[in-house]
């Protein structure tokens, strides 16, 4: 407890200046004057969640096409301009976001925002560029398929969510990629890429008012067109689901996934701490007992993933040589049962809280990382300031809460169990 009080004494809330332009664009500015560097980011509120059947992967495909030129700039101009300015640039797509960013010297971050304003309004989406880029994305799809653990994780979401779009793979299904046309991508672009669906983040060695003036100048004239998420609800799971997934692997694996809660649900904090107690650090239960004492797993983790509209608690383990997946599954179940029947000690709970909250400080080391974090809170919860409520909410969790939440969610009918096993061909080898 003393350690926790000490932490609360040195923890400072994250400071962000938020602006909303008339066209609906949200700007978040995080000032960090440690180094003369700025991370300029734009996060569109669109991702795999929004994709209908037959169009999975279209947000990610559009992310690729955003580097292929606008009416003003040729396909190579953007990368060249950023590199000549000494910057590093990239984009990424996930369930609820398609983002682009560049990290640059503080005198040059306007270059990135200038290009982003242009890409928001003027993407060319040239059919000549589209086909080769689609093949690049199909290679990315194959890369995922050849990563046995990644492919296994994708299969998990397909079976955990039978209806909800959280089942969609971000990179898309191969057959959808084959059929998506440049006209589809243009429709997607028109619908989702506008100021009211975007969050701009400027993090680093900047003054908030100067960043606001720049963003207003570059984006202020663009027309906003609000987009609302369609809401889907997964029907409650009514019994355990089990599957086998076979690949050319030598080391099998087991996964277990439970449905849980959304990001702002009060029980999300207890689930977060359960994940920490089980698997964060060498002193965690999984590392200490399952890996070192019992020699049952080579790699094992538990992770609470609470998202905008639903959540899961995922446990994954690779058995040590000579241990079968069933034995490891039983051990994981026993560990979860223990959470339901034995209260965690005050020391163990305090340690977990301390680990979780120390991460909130360490994360502030990187302007890029803190930029992603505040954008994510703004996007998924509607208010970046929820990040500052997080330590208080974590602090409130009691040992009784851990037992209650474990009993509520870690039940057989609410779970999917998967085994990653060698394919028959690889077994013959």
């Amino acid at each position: 407890m003393i350690q926790l009080l000490l932490f609360l004494a040195i923890w400072q809330p994250i400071k962000v200046d938020k602006f909303v332009l008339d066209n609906g664009l949200t700007l978040l500015v995080y000032e960090d004057h440690f180094a003369p560097v700025v991370s300029a980011q734009i996060h569109y509120r669109v991702g795999a969640y929004n994709e209908p059947k037959g169009r999975t992967g279209i947000s990610h495909l559009l992310e690729h096409m955003a580097f292929k030129g606008t009416k003003k700039h040729g396909p190579k101009d953007y990368d060249r301009a950023i590199h000549e300015a000494g910057g590093e640039e990239n984009g990424f797509t996930s369930t609820h976001v398609t983002a682009f960013f560049a990290n640059l010297h503080k005198d040059r971050y306007a270059i990135e925002l200038d290009f982003e304003a242009d890409r928001m309004a003027n993407l060319l989406l040239d059919p000549k560029e589209f086909e080769p880029e689609k093949h690049v994305v199909m290679e990315e799809r194959r890369l995922n398929d050849n990563d046995p653990y990644g492919a296994f994780g994708e299969e998990f979401d397909l079976i955990t969510y039978l209806y909800h779009p959280y089942r969609n793979p971000v990179v898309g299904f191969m057959s959808d990629l084959e059929h998506i046309t440049v006209a589809d991508v243009k429709d997607w672009y028109r619908r989702y890429y506008n100021p009211s669906n975007a969050i701009v983040v400027v993090a680093g060695d900047v003054e908030a008012e100067a960043a606001y003036a720049l963003v207003k100048k570059l984006f202020g004239k663009l027309k906003g067109s609000p987009v609302k998420d369609e809401i889907f609800a997964e029907p409650p799971q009514q019994g355990e689901r089990r599957f086998e997934y076979r690949k050319d692997v030598r080391m099998p694996a087991v996964g277990i996934q439970y449905h849980t809660v959304t990001v702002l649900d009060p029980e999300a904090y207890a689930l977060n701490l359960i994940g920490t107690i089980l698997s964060q650090g060498r002193s965690s239960r999984f590392q200490r007992e399952v890996v070192r004492e019992k020699n049952l797993a080579v790699n094992i983790y538990a992770y609470s993933s609470t998202a905008k509209y639903a959540g899961t608690f995922y446990l994954f383990g690779i058995p040590q040589a000579g241990i079968d997946v069933k034995t490891l599954e039983t051990e994981i179940e026993n560990q979860l049962d223990r959470l339901k029947t034995e209260k965690v000690t005050a020391e163990e709970l305090d340690k977990a809280k301390r680990l979780v909250m120390a991460q909130t400080i360490y994360r502030q080391d990187s302007p890029t990382g803190i930029g992603f974090t505040i954008a994510n809170w703004e996007n998924t919860t509607g208010d970046w300031q929820n990040i500052n409520r997080f330590p208080d909410e974590i602090q409130k969790v009691t040992a009784d809460d851990i037992v209650r939440v474990a009993k509520k969610y870690f039940i057989k009918d609410n779970r999917t169990v998967g085994y990653l096993l060698p394919s028959e061909k690889s077994e013959e080898k």
């Binding site: 396909p75 590199h83 000494g86 080391m251 080391d365």
Partner: protein, 445 residues
């Protein structure tokens, strides 16, 4: 119509970094940077006890020794050590790479004395318990087998074996092989620890890097008290030898039932401290080191749509190095992708433009501040400056150094280090030798 790009004047962009150097009575060098942005401190002990000094037949020994540092000491069990550091939200981890091994730690400011005390406990008083070693070996062997399921790791390891040559100290991964890890005994570990762990007086000194929220003078008092009497050691090389180019292309295929072919093509390359490294890295930026803007990526991804990623890289160690060009592509397109890699490696030797060189120089100068904008990156760069013997006026000299490079030096680096006619080629995937059309290639079993 494309709009002309704005051209920047090459102005001084570097902010001052004050790296303090102190030498403790036993020769241990302390490199420290005070930074008060966040209430945290990072510490990294860098000891030349990496896997290059593994004896033949005991590959993985350096890594096991390093991992055993936190598995129990005179005063703490492994579990107690983990509890001590994690109960304050901190981290204390061993690491073992090819040249250096050591401990890295991070804590919030008030807990810094605790971190230092635990680091001393691990470095001075490991107990190398037999049971703990048996458990660790099982974990490491399982990890090695799990890596065998990742075609990228399988190919990378096979490539370094073939390119460095059997028996070379850099030919194996720091983890070692399951067959050699299983033979390591507690005596091996104790002997290796006695030999390697301490501040040596040899060509590669041990040193400590500290970055964060401390006061310099207090830091030196603390480290002198805890580490000033650490007995000095001397480490020597084991089996480092030069790895000549093959007389003609040599290939190896590792069969895997996957839809893509993972390709690795290259040979031994320049080591750390190579005098022409800056020219070489600018050359590689143009060739395949700059992501989407590189020639290799442009040809293979942008023009032909063959791959998501294609690149060229130089991996440098203290006593050796590697050049490797790599791509993952649909297995039917493997030959085409390999031909493209070879073509680009050959083309840059004679065809290099002033525009490309100017662009690369602007990138390296403008990007420099981004390489040390976090505590972690600052610690990394400080360690790199020390290991490469670059001098701590590096920050002041950097821009002039890059600007001073001429196209002839960059072309010379390409001439010296790129060999489109003699290389090693490793392919992981469902590929047959006859799928690959390379004149005179010798395939290994």
């Amino acid at each position: 119509m494309r709009k002309p790009m704005i051209l920047f004047a090459l102005i001084v962009l570097v902010h001052a970094v004050d790296i303090r150097q102190d030498t403790l009575p036993n020769g241990l060098l302390v490199l420290s940077i005070e930074a008060h942005k966040l209430p945290e401190i990072m510490v990294r002990f860098m000891i030349p006890a990496g896997s290059f000094s593994d004896p033949v037949g005991k590959e993985g020994l350096a890594n096991l020794t390093n991992q055993m540092l936190i598995r129990g000491t005179k005063n703490y069990s492994g579990d107690a050590l983990a509890d001590e550091i994690e109960s304050v939200g901190g981290d204390l981890s061993p690491f073992c790479a090819d040249d250096y091994a050591g401990l890295s730690g991070r804590v919030l400011t008030p807990d810094f004395p605790r971190l230092v005390k635990l680091m001393k406990e691990c470095l001075f008083y490991p107990n190398f318990d037999t049971l703990q070693l048996a458990r660790l070996k099982r974990e490491v062997i399982s990890d090695i087998r799990a890596a065998g399921d990742d075609p990228e790791q399988v190919g990378g390891l096979a490539f370094r074996q073939i390119a460095f040559g059997t028996g070379n100290s850099y030919a194996h991964d720091p983890a070692g092989y399951d067959s050699t890890v299983s033979t390591v005994t507690v005596k091996d570990i104790r002997d290796y620890y006695q030999y390697a762990y301490g501040p040596p007086s040899g060509p590669q000194p041990a040193f400590v890097v500290c970055v964060g929220d401390f006061i310099h003078d207090s830091l030196i008092v603390l480290l002198t008290r805890e580490f000033g009497d650490w007995p000095a050691k001397r480490s020597e090389l084991s089996n480092v030898f030069s790895s000549p180019l093959p007389e003609r292309p040599v290939g190896r295929i590792i069969k895997r039932d996957i839809s893509q072919a993972y390709v690795f093509l290259g040979y031994s390359g320049p080591r750390l401290r190579a005098p022409d490294w800056n020219a070489t890295r600018l050359m590689n930026y143009i060739l395949g080191g700059s992501g989407l803007t590189s020639r290799i990526m442009h040809s293979i991804r942008e023009e032909q749509g063959l791959a998501y990623d294609a690149r060229s890289s130089f991996y440098r160690f203290v006593y050796g190095g590697l050049f490797v060009a790599s791509v993952q592509t649909k297995k039917e397109m493997a030959n085409q992708a390999i031909q493209s890699l070879i073509k680009e490696i050959g083309r840059i030797k004679d065809d290099l433009t002033a525009d490309e060189v100017s662009w690369a120089k602007k990138y390296y100068i403008g990007h420099f501040p981004l390489t040390f904008d976090t505590y972690g990156e600052l610690a990394e760069l400080t360690a790199q400056i020390q290991i490469e013997n670059l001098g701590f006026d590096y920050f002041d000299r950097y821009e002039k150094m890059i600007n001073g490079l001429g196209i002839d030096q960059i072309r010379a680096a390409a001439q010296k280090y790129l060999h489109p006619d003699s290389y090693y080629l490793v392919i992981v995937g469902d590929i047959k030798p006859e799928d690959i059309k390379i004149d005179g290639i010798r395939w290994l079993d």
